[in-house]
Subunit: 355 residues, 2 copies
DNA sequence: AATTTTCTGATTTACGTACATCAAAAATTC
DNA sequence: GAATTTTTGATGTACGTAAATCAGAAAATT
């Protein structure tokens, strides 16, 4: 049996109340007594029974998720996963709420963070825009004692407690490596379609992609990045223009959420054997993968990210360690041959694959 | 606040004791009264607080893992992950024990299962050999009321409650698809190195590989499968012989655990531009991937599988539902560009990436 | 109607921790 | 050494559920 507070008290030769004072950092314990207790805790290997503690405290963890608004399918899938986690929330003593803010707008995001902090939640998860004022807001949250994790897109030099998301440089490198191999000897330049260079994940993917292409597949021209603002119409227009300007285009890497526009533009072209690698498995990319319009899709599992964010925030709130390996988010690579089954519960988009 | 048993009792107009009898299926409740209580449960949306219940029961879950012995690095990594989960076990009220049995030996496996069942654990996780006698043993476990999950390798038509592992047909298809694309126009046959056709996962990978190659990359000869029994020496010999017999060999798919032998044989050959796809990211395949000897590694995360098996067995023991998406094991695809960092804790092998 | 059997209620203890209160003891200050 | 302050002990209640006991009520049987 694992030791309890009673065992600690007996072993240290003090009362239960004193043990409690030490454990919960309550005042009124002499340093020598505290040391005795901590000694007993150490030697007996006591670990607090969190379930019992939470029961006694009847504690709940209010968590706030701040994510971009708009019709970005990945973000809507993320929102659905957050809601799904919220529906299960009674089981893990957590209550999640969702705040949506306009995409790529750091000032509104800052306001949202400050507002969330003012209600002293147990933790905040935020899809960050990479700007100094956002970092400052997160720093304020930290000072207020509210743990913050960044979700999907990270933030340079901020005090966030943890980043829940994939290694986007590695994702870009992977895309580059696959693109290089898929192209083989085929000549022609490669285009890159992004959402915005204001978000760190897009910048990092681009960086990784260019680096991998340069290292291993030398004489390959990579055209200037097309910024589609994750807007289907704009993305379609940019891609179509690019097709016209470069009849010998060999491949496209779509690293943002402009996939609907991309797919429309490709379909309109007819089969030209262009290699296409995209991000996020949603209904459109899934269909395009099956149809052979897209060769590979890199993916991050929104459900896993949400559950991971919740676990991490709870752990930070309790001041306990997380299982690092469990919280590392994978870069999933999907070909048409390893598509997961579509879940009935998947509303518009999410692919439903997880930890 | 979520409703408690007291609320149910009040709402149904019965006593706490009766509610308890209904909730825990104790005898001595008339059908009409039971209906009243269940009604109240339904309308109030009561869900039992598992933490409090476990506290009251001071219940622990003894779980048994039965895995192959021998120096198969993946299995040793699995064992390490089970041990790691065991070290954390106090937190989740579980106590795991490990039984190792000779690989590919169904009779010994049957004995091990029967022995485990005889001690009435809360659940059993077993790396199955696909044989009828094993299925029968699992059926006996079921009849004894012990939940069973198969781990890594599944079992045809058995009463196992759940399979924790990847979709091996999809894994084989993915390998085929990658192989086809990586080869491009390069001529020459493709070899397949397996461990044993006695385990279902190897059979299914082969099946998927052949199917994908046949469908999408038609005129490509796939040589007869080499069965290396997951033995480094034998595997090396088989591969070397194959090299000699087929100087124009274009690719190798290693779907079992014979990677050390494979890598030795490839290194001995010098650079011949053969495309190699292997399974399981362990120290050898990781090094070979970095060195360019292997092009891609398909992987299943042992840590995730162990945690998933524990979650599922606990859920089955409690008779509650699992989060399906969380328990789906991914097929990880690693290129040299998306290798996860090596964890200091990774003893010989496991790659440490998870849910 | 009397008896037996089956249900139901009331109550208590327990799980491991949190938290509050009040008294007693020890240490500190003057 | 007396007064004060700080530290410690003892005790009780609470969290939500499990499980047991015993008495009493209701139903079924005779």
């Amino acid at each position: 049996m694992r030791p309890t507070v009673h065992d600690i008290a007996a072993s240290a030769g003090v009362s239960l109340a004193t043990v409690d004072r030490v454990l919960n950092r309550r005042p009124g314990v002499r340093a020598v007594t505290r040391a005795k207790v901590e000694d007993a805790i150490e030697t007996l290997g006591y670990v607090r029974d969190v379930a019992a503690a939470n029961l006694a405290k009847s504690r709940i963890y209010p968590l706030v998720f701040i994510i971009p608004a708009g019709d970005n399918p990945f973000m809507r899938g993320l929102e659905a996963e957050i809601a799904a986690a919220g529906a299960r929330s009674s089981a893990d003593r957590t209550r999640v709420s969702i705040l949506t803010v306009p995409a790529f707008d750091s000032m509104v995001l800052v306001e949202a963070i400050d507002k969330a902090v003012s209600e002293f939640p147990s933790g905040i998860a935020v899809v960050a825009v990479d700007a100094p004022e956002v970092a400052a807001a997160i720093e304020r949250a930290r000072l207020a004692g509210v743990p913050v994790v960044t979700l999907v897109s990270d933030l340079a030099a901020s005090g966030r407690d943890h980043f829940v998301g994939i290694d986007n440089i590695a994702a870009g490198r992977t895309a580059g490596s696959l693109m290089g191999r898929f192209l083989g000897d085929r000549a022609g330049p490669v285009a890159v379609l992004a959402g915005s260079m204001l978000v760190r994940d897009h910048r990092e993917r681009l960086q990784g992609f260019i680096a991998a292409m340069a290292e291993d597949f030398e004489p390959r021209v990579i055209l200037d990045v097309l910024e589609g603002q994750d807007d289907p119409m704009l993305a379609e227009e940019l891609v179509a223009t690019c097709f016209n300007a470069h009849p010998d285009l060999a491949g496209i890497y779509s690293l943002g959420a402009g996939n609907r526009g991309l797919i429309t533009a490709i379909s309109a072209q007819g089969p030209r054997g262009i290699r296409v690698i995209a991000h996020e498995l949603i209904s459109h990319t899934r269909a395009a993968l099956k149809a052979g319009l897209i060769d590979a899709v890199l993916h991050q599992d929104a459900g896993h990210e949400v559950r991971s964010a919740i676990r991490v925030l709870k752990a930070k709130a309790d001041g306990v360690a997380v299982i690092e390996a469990q919280e590392r988010i994978r870069i999933d690579i999907f070909l048409k041959d390893n598509l997961p089954l579509e879940q009935p519960g998947d509303l518009p988009d999410p692919s439903g694959q997880d930890d």
